[in-house]
């Protein structure tokens, strides 16, 4: 199992919330979407998604529901709660601020 970089570990929650904000998804679909949108830059092992999902659910930011998929399997769909949406907004803003600051620092040219 490859270890995701620390940065990703810390922001995995944020990514998951963002993707779920677009539409409710089940675990596998979520992992596919994650790979797809990040263009395979973020190497997350599929397995490590589940502890993150369950943690978010315990915190009340997402909720789950068993529903049939398009090919008629039973699957657990996760969707954002109102609480989660608010949290996402706040965290996204935070992220913007921090990454802007860091990029600013990194863009400084040496004298």
């Amino acid at each position: 199992m490859s270890k995701p970089s620390d940065l990703v570990q810390g922001t995995l929650d944020l990514l998951v919330l963002k993707i779920l904000a677009l539409e409710p998804l089940h675990g596998w679909a979520l992992s596919q979407r994650l790979k797809q949108v990040s263009g395979n830059v973020l190497q997350v092992s599929d397995g490590s998604l589940y502890p993150a999902l369950h943690k978010l659910e315990q915190q009340g930011w997402i909720r789950s529901e068993w529903k049939p998929t398009e090919n008629n399997r039973r699957a657990k769909f996760y969707s954002l709660t109102r609480l989660g949406r608010r949290y996402l907004e706040r965290e996204a803003a935070n992220w913007e601020r921090i990454s802007a600051a860091i990029s600013g620092v990194l863009r400084l040219t040496e004298v």
Binding site: D46, P51, K76
Partner: protein, 890 residues
């Protein structure tokens, strides 16, 4: 925000608590789904089945680990782990039931003893008194800065005259008095037998000062407490129920006390109890002091007849009150310099007053049970270390397979916690049984009725169990060297003298245990010795087959000294004539029966002493046959003659110590003594000393003829060559034939009477001895266990030694020395600790020094003997080893 948060999380939390298995199944399905989707997806892209499966697993990671990690995010995870730990603990314990039962039993004894003592402390020492605002109540006493003699102590009763002065002088407290040591003959009425009942005289405000409301009727008011007032009496709840069948109409009825009519004005509630330094717990009737006591008794400054209780006004303190009253008392002493008048005032809270005599013994018992609990903890820790040692390979393998250190430790602690909790359960049961027993055997103890077990005691037991678990678990955990996984995996196969570190830890534990047992044994030894001394104390007469019983003649029917003398003479003549009676006599107070009254005397033939001085002597009335009946030796002179009665009764017999004190260098016979009233008595004889109380030193004593010196009550002393108890019934029948209204009280043999006065000592020494033996047995079995384990560990080594030519007795000696070393170290520690702590029991010892060399030596011998006994079997087994077999084991 907060509220909304709960809306989302609470249903989930509940579900994750109660539908754990459903959640597990869901998770399995979810993970399985993921893999299935991945595989289906890859197959649809043209991949082979097997290849797709492998790829899916590869990108997924270890499914088991994912599952565990996901589960770890659930709430209540901790609870689940605990449940699992407990289940594992129960399983491992039930796999070795011997160890489990042993440990739980030991723990049960330790916790049970402590829970019982805790209940006693709470009930007796801490529970507030059943009065209104009991914290404001204090007991006041007189105080002599210069003790007159050994018979007096501090916290003296209060004389009536002093009390009135105190009451006048202070506004800092409401003051009341009670005199607890009286008795009334309750007359026969309505077919009920006459009986003698303990009673108290109190001031009119006594019950209102305490804040006690009656269950029926009213309590006294000041108007009842006057010389000419109507005679009134209050009944205790128990007496009202027993004698009057809980008659609801009792208030206003008349009962006859000492043949005088009294009106019942009320019944006290069942919760009411007054007990202090001067007793009161057995009182059933209360009358008013000014009505009952002679007027000069109430105004005397030297006749100490009362205990004062006071309710402090808000903002006042006990010490302020005492300062104030001390000044008053000092002034009284200046005006009345007689030695019988006190010069100071002492006081303490009423609660302290009630429990003073029990404090030291109870705290000593607490120390003893504390010791037992520590021994128990160490013992269980020792057992657990031993168990850990046998399981060291298991632990090493589990650690090597990735079992977390913390996890393994937690399991161990859970195990010890399980033992302690089961022990606590058993301990509570044992404590309950012990308390039932205690309450039934110690009815004489103040406040014994308030001992009970409740939630707090259970809480205490739980706390003790937790503490024990922590102590024993931690010790055993520290004993196992978790870090040396590899070493312990290697050790097992080769080493022939392995397991040393663990054994040395166990030896240390043992030494400490033995030390504690020695302290307990020394304490118990001292108490037992003191009790033996007490029992063998010579009270001055041979105690076998002597029966005593008390009769007091009510003043209303027997009015004059002539009546008293006539009755007693008739009675004793009939008793003497009874078959089986060897001798019989009458005395005002029998040996061991109590103080009995004293008088200041001076010698007429000697130069006059300064005013107020004289010899303070115990006073007894005796009939001519008393000395022969009690077998008090007549040392010189003669006993009373039959004719020396009434007006001719001015003769006295001195006890040996009295003769020595008053006539140091001369023959007292024919000399004369005078008392303060100027009455003169001729000394006609000297007899042996007797003790007035078994635990108190001999006090000079003086006998006068009982016929004619104001004695209306007497103790009959009967000596027989046969078992004397059988005579009690016939004598009581005589008495009721002579006067059917006259009760006989305190019927017992002198042996019983002394046993009753030493019941405290007997009880304390018995209980501490029991604890000491528990400690000794635990320590010895612990020693045996360690040594047996060591021998088992060193089987190979011993085999080699024997094969190389070691003699068998050398091996025996080696193992013995190995086992005895911790015992000796523990013994030395224990003796040292005892030597520095036994002075705390000094107050409980009689005729025994805290550093009694015989006790210390005895304990040392006993301990070494039991240590040798415990070591002998393993050592002998080691020396009998067959070297061939020993080398082949492993």
């Amino acid at each position: 925000m907060r509220f909304e948060h709960w809306v989302y999380t609470i249903p989930l939390r509940l579900r994750s608590l109660f539908k754990r298995s459903r959640l597990n199944a869901d998770l399995d399905e979810e993970l399985h789904n993921h893999l299935a989707c991945q595989i289906a997806d890859d197959i649809s892209r043209g991949m082979g089945m097997e290849e797709a499966r492998l790829k899916a697993l590869r990108s997924f990671g270890n499914p088991l680990l994912v599952r565990e990690k996901t589960r770890a995010t659930w709430s209540w995870n901790y609870v689940e782990q605990c449940v699992r730990d407990v289940r594992i603990g129960i399983r491992t314990l039930s796999r070795s039931p011997g160890f489990a039962i042993m440990a739980i039993l030991i723990m049960g004894i330790g916790i049970g003893a402590n829970a019982a003592i805790f209940s006693v402390i709470r009930g007796v020492l801490l529970e507030p008194l059943p009065y209104r605002e009991p914290g404001q109540l204090v007991s006041l006493f007189e105080h002599q800065t210069r003790p007159v003699d050994a018979g007096y102590s501090n916290y003296l009763p209060v004389a009536g005259g002093n009390f009135s002065e105190w009451k006048k002088a202070t506004t800092a407290a409401q003051m009341a008095i009670i005199s607890t040591w009286h008795q009334y003959n309750v007359s026969a009425e309505g077919g009920k037998l006459p009986e003698k009942v303990d009673a108290a005289w109190c001031s009119g405000n006594f019950f209102s000062v305490l804040g006690v409301a009656p269950a029926l009727g009213r309590v006294f008011i000041d108007a009842d407490d006057r010389t000419g007032a109507a005679a009134t009496v209050l009944l205790s709840d128990g007496f009202w129920r027993r004698r009057y069948n809980s008659d609801p109409g009792i208030v206003g009825k008349t009962i006859w006390l000492d043949a005088r009519p009294f009106t019942v004005i009320g019944v006290l509630p069942s919760s009411f109890l007054y007990e202090g330094k001067y007793g009161g717990g057995t009182d059933q009737l209360w009358t008013t002091a000014n009505h009952e006591a002679p007027a000069d008794f109430m105004t005397s400054f030297g006749d100490r007849g009362f205990v004062s209780v006071a309710r402090l006004m808000p903002g006042e303190t006990l010490s302020q009150l005492i300062d104030q009253l001390s000044a008053v008392q000092h002034q009284i002493k200046v005006e009345h310099p007689e030695p019988s008048v006190s010069d100071g005032v002492q006081g303490r809270t009423m609660l302290e007053d009630a429990v003073q005599g029990y404090k030291t013994p109870i705290y000593i018992l607490l120390a003893a049970t504390g010791c037992v609990l520590l021994i128990v903890c160490l013992n269980v820790a020792g057992l657990m270390v031993a168990r850990a040692a046998t399981r060291s390979k298991e632990y090493a393998i589990r650690a090597a397979l990735g079992g977390g250190l913390f996890r393994l430790l937690r399991e161990r602690l859970t195990e010890s916690l399980l033992i302690c909790v089961a022990g606590a359960g058993m301990g509570l049961f044992l404590a309950w049984a012990a308390l039932q027993w205690l309450v039934s055997v110690r009815q004489d103890m103040n406040r014994v009725g308030s001992i009970h077990m409740d939630g707090t005691v259970v809480l205490f037991a739980a706390f003790a169990a937790g503490l024990c678990a922590l102590i024993s678990g931690t010790i055993s955990v520290f004993g196992s060297k978790q870090r040396q996984i590899l070493a312990s995996l290697k050790e097992s196969s080769r080493a022939h003298s392995g397991g040393r570190t663990r054994a040395s830890l166990r030896k240390t534990l043992l030494a400490v245990q033995i030390g504690f047992s020695v302290v307990l044994l020394v304490g118990a030894g001292l108490l037992v010795r003191s009790y033996q001394r007490l029992r063998s104390t010579d009270i001055g007469i041979p105690v076998d087959n002597v029966l005593t019983m008390r009769i007091s003649l009510p003043g209303a029917r027997y009015k004059t000294p002539e009546d008293w003398a006539a009755f007693f003479e008739r009675l004793i003549a009939r008793v003497r004539a009874m078959p089986g009676v060897e001798t019989a006599g009458l005395v005002s107070t029998a040996p061991g029966e109590g103080w009995g009254g004293n008088r200041m005397m001076s010698v007429v033939e000697h130069p006059p002493l300064p005013k107020g001085e004289g010899f303070d002597i115990l006073l007894r009335g005796a009939d001519p046959g008393y000395f022969a009946a009690a077998k008090i030796p007549l040392l010189s002179g003669r006993s009373f003659a039959m004719a020396e009665r009434l007006q001719r009764a001015h003769v006295v017999v001195l006890s040996r110590s009295a003769a020595k004190a008053m006539f140091p260098e001369e023959d007292p016979i024919g000399k004369h003594l005078a008392d303060k009233q100027g009455r003169v008595y001729e000394v006609i004889g000297v007899v042996g000393d007797t003790r007035w109380y078994v635990t108190e030193p001999v006090h000079p004593m003086l006998y006068m003829p009982i016929y004619g010196n104001d004695y209306s009550s007497a103790t009959i002393v009967v000596r027989s060559s046969q078992p004397v108890e059988a005579l009690a019934m016939p004598i009581e029948k005589f008495v009721s034939e002579m006067d059917s209204d006259l009760p006989v009280s305190d019927v017992m043999t002198i042996r019983q009477a002394t046993a009753k006065s030493t019941v405290d000592n007997q009880f304390d020494s018995f209980v501490v001895l029991a604890f000491a033996f528990i400690g000794l047995i635990l320590a010895s079995t612990g020693l045996y266990g360690v040594l047996a384990y060591l021998v088992a560990q060193r089987t190979g080594e011993i085999g080699i030694r024997i094969a190389l030519g070691a003699k068998r007795d050398q091996v025996l000696g080696m193992i013995l020395a190995d086992g005895l070393r911790p015992a000796l170290i523990g013994l030395l520690i224990g003796l040292a600790v005892s030597a520095s702590t036994t002075r705390f029991v000094k107050r409980m010892l009689y005729g025994t020094q805290p550093l009694d060399p015989e006790v210390f030596a005895g304990v040392a011998v006993l301990l070494i003997a039991s240590a040798v006994l415990a070591c002998l079997l393993p050592a002998w087994r080691a020396s009998r080893l067959d070297p061939m077999q020993a080398l082949r084991t492993e």
